[in-house]
Symmetry: C2
Subunit: 286 residues, 2 copies
């Protein structure tokens, strides 16, 4: 069994309008396809809040840089239809690039602040591309709630800010990262890893978790970050783009843990860029 696909905004709206007319709450799960257990968890989370679940599949050219992996990003629509169905999705919206960006297309959305630094510093224009396509998908679908993985934590904060700022009438829900048994965060890009790289990759999550424990236990943030960075480099990561502690909402860098924080990392194994993040919470007062 597989979930049906529509390709046009008009068909998408017709379906959503019928569900709304029947009084059904509609959840949206924006993806770039190559669905894995992490996406399926998003669909199941949507199912706990919404009668109807729409998965969007669109490999958005505007959020890839010129030297990034747009062309080779995994595309596997039939497998996606089966995975979407198994997780309970009612509909897939998989538009063409021409449906999303017709001739003469000229509009771009920027979210300052939360887009700066972290992935924003290493992928120029990436979050403009994300903000623009997410705004379009939310406006196209008119869903009641949309679900995003915490694995792309900065993206989640950009989307939250965007939706609040433009008053898009949708609730944004973040869903915790799904991990392999050894801790590696699920990602469509994990298929790029060689066996040796795959063996090394879980060190990202392990490092973040150890750092979170130390910082929560009172260790200074700057020294802990330096140790974590040295550990990743020493173990063989080819490039650590960033390893930082940030405020959970504003994503402003933090030097002491006075409010809930987030540790975030981006590092490369060969050409494959992996990201991950974990919460770090101040100890409750005794």
């Amino acid at each position: 069994m597989s979930t049906p696909i529509v390709r046009s905004v008009a068909e998408l709206r017709t379906r959503v309008a019928a569900w709304h007319k029947a009084g059904e709450r509609v959840g949206l799960i924006p993806t770039m396809g190559a669905l894995h257990e992490g996406h399926q968890e998003l669909i199941r989370a949507a199912g706990r809040a919404c009668a109807r679940k729409v998965v969007t599949i669109f490999v958005n050219p505007r959020q890839f840089g010129p030297n990034e992996d747009f062309a080779r990003y995994p595309r596997q629509e039939e497998a996606d239809q089966i995975r979407a169905h198994d997780a309970g999705a009612d509909l897939i919206f998989a538009p063409t690039v021409g449906e999303m960006y017709p001739d003469g297309y000229a509009t771009s959305i920027s979210v300052s602040g939360v887009s700066d630094g972290l992935c924003g510093a290493h992928r120029p224009g990436h979050f403009d591309g994300v903000a623009t396509v997410v705004a379009k998908l939310l406006i196209q679908a008119g869903a009641d709630e949309a679900f995003f993985g915490e694995k792309d934590y900065q993206q989640l904060q950009v989307v939250r800010r965007l939706v609040r700022d433009l008053d898009i009438p949708v609730r944004i829900t973040g869903v915790p990262t799904v991990r392999e048994a050894d801790g590696l965060a699920l990602s469509s890009r994990n298929v790029y890893l060689s066996a040796g790289q795959r063996a090394l990759a879980p060190l990202l999550a392990r490092t973040l978790n150890e750092m979170a424990s130390r910082i929560a236990g009172g260790a200074p943030i700057a020294a802990t970050l330096a140790d974590g960075l040295a550990g990743l480099r020493g173990a063989g990561f080819d490039e650590v783009e960033y390893l930082e502690a940030r405020d959970v909402v504003s994503l402003v860098p933090i030097e002491t843990l006075s409010a809930p924080g987030r540790l975030l990392v981006a590092a490369k194994l060969g050409k494959t860029r992996l990201i991950d993040n974990v919460p770090v919470l101040p100890k409750a007062a005794p």
Copy 2:
């Protein structure tokens, strides 16, 4: 009699939702207040297409440059309520700056192409401010149709492009410019003019109309623009920012009249900046 005002997005949405539930089509007329006969014509145009008419009044700080007239822009809410009522408006949405741009606000929308040149060249950031606030107002209100004056012709094209690009589900309707008996386009900024300036101001429209006749009759565009420019300068306009012939939709400069064009002008009398535009159509084949 005067039209009631709401200040919050939530109240606006409650009103529009009730009308939609009753099956009534809702028209939106975005303005910066200081309503005049031109705005009233927009409201009447909305009334011919929509059962309900919502006027928005918001002097948007983000579309004014640092040396422009944001602080002294005319504000006259009670008079606006009466004029809105007389033209048939059902509701005014007049949010505070804090309601539109709350603490932490960080999102901006840009429309390239149609925003370049003309007013875009002389008012840096102006059309980003326009695109952002219009997108917000359209998303906030959820109206079926929105009405904009052709007097701000470049703005109208920016809004059309924005709405198409972001798939905002609203129809955009342009309404012809309303003029004084002597041809001067109505504008909230006309109140800034001294008696002498006011006497000179109608030359803008007269010049545009004469140019349109000459070009439609076969005169070369470049020479006609040069003559028009010389005429305005010679008559005493303090600065002619631009006087151009453009394609009606893309706003690309045109050198010959092979498709419908538009002649557009911006010129200053003292500190007061006036804009105007007229259509120029190729002669039908004999």
